[in-house]
Symmetry: C3
Subunit: 169 residues, 3 copies
């Protein structure tokens, strides 16, 4: 038979493991969420794209601010987007740097849009991204805000990348 003390040790180790496993699951879930963006836009799936964002979440590029999950989901029918997708295109995300803070997180990564021109694909956009994420009431992670800055030498893109490093430097 074991004493009370030994059991307390077991309970503390269980609780510590549960917290660590939850953090690993959150990390993996956030990486998976971001990995879904490309297949959603290139696969023309409005519902899957919309489901990535919170109802009032935003997506800011230098062209436009999309306000709310409905506007983001509508990207798949946008004439500019169709112009990318029709010849053949890939929106590819790099593996993000992620900082978790309980029920919110910030992820920073690169995105590139490859567009077919004949027998090769040109990189027609290379951008820095900041993803502000929240844990939704169903336990899943959603995008509250995505900021996308073209890597054209501007300080905007540079500071966005740098800021992503601060939290866990």
């Amino acid at each position: 038979m074991i004493g009370e003390g030994a059991n307390e040790g077991v309970l503390a180790r269980l609780a510590a493991l549960e917290a660590r496993v939850r953090e690993l699951e959150d990390h993996a879930a956030i990486c998976q969420l971001i990995a879904r963006y490309g297949p959603a836009v290139d696969g023309m799936r409005r519902a899957a794209l919309r489901a990535m964002w919170t109802p009032h979440g935003t997506y800011e590029t230098e062209h436009h601010v999309f306000r709310g999950a409905d506007e983001v989901g509508a990207i798949v029918d946008d004439p500019m987007h169709l112009g990318f997708v029709e010849p053949g295109c890939a929106h590819v995300m790099s593996h993000p740097v992620v900082t978790l803070q309980g029920d919110t997180a910030v992820a920073t990564n690169y995105s590139r849009v490859y567009q077919r021109h004949g027998t090769t694909w040109a990189v027609v956009r290379a951008a820095a991204n900041r993803w502000e994420l929240v844990r939704a009431s169903d336990g899943g992670w959603r995008v509250e805000r995505r900021v996308n800055r073209l890597l054209n030498g501007s300080e905007l893109a540079r500071s966005l990348l740098a800021n992503g490093l601060e939290a866990n430097a």
Copy 2:
């Protein structure tokens, strides 16, 4: 001393953690398996490439269907492949969207082949990939089927990407 009830609680929490950790390990193992493809083909390692597939697994491109791990492994000596590798080339995988279902899984991602032309590298293939994976008897994950569809605007590639989102939408 602790009661039977408390111990049952501990055992239930342990079992839940073991299942969650196994899922995280499976997820990481699948991402690692897919990450090995590029180094295997660009590093010309027939055995490592063959070991990724099940004995009867397939790899389908628009050019050809490779049937079985031996045929897949032989890619490293294929004249078309050598034509890619000799000037300098990189087969790069994006981080996949993964859906685990016990001992099988589906992963969806982008692949790009960069080939050197003088002082820059051209993207000579950008494709969507569907990986159907199985847990082998040794516990490791293997490719049962890989489908690779060129991102040339075709509905084939678009639906392959979209289908990868369905299982965990």
Copy 3:
């Protein structure tokens, strides 16, 4: 009340889980470390870049060997680096193949440097990377040695990729 034997079973399962969770955390931490490289150099953050390396760690390219974290951190002010960053540039890492061995690890991946030329980005470097990593006294992972080999068809790059597959083949 539970017997001594049952408790030993619980302790063994806890210890096994702790080891597995630590391995998952190490794996994630190493992937995060490598993901930080791009934002550090493109975001011009000397301190964040320096903090990735051990004090005497090295970074070898075909141009130069950077010796020690201070020299690596100084890359952000190097005229050659500034020439990449000023027009707009992205240093993007692929997800690495990682082999953990206790307090050391080897990671193998691809890096690409995208540089803006007008309205598109050219891939001006595509390289194979070997990262030799160590767990530091603060528990964090650091780069002890990074070897970067241009994918120009040379046997150097090819064997670097192939060697990354051996440890967990």
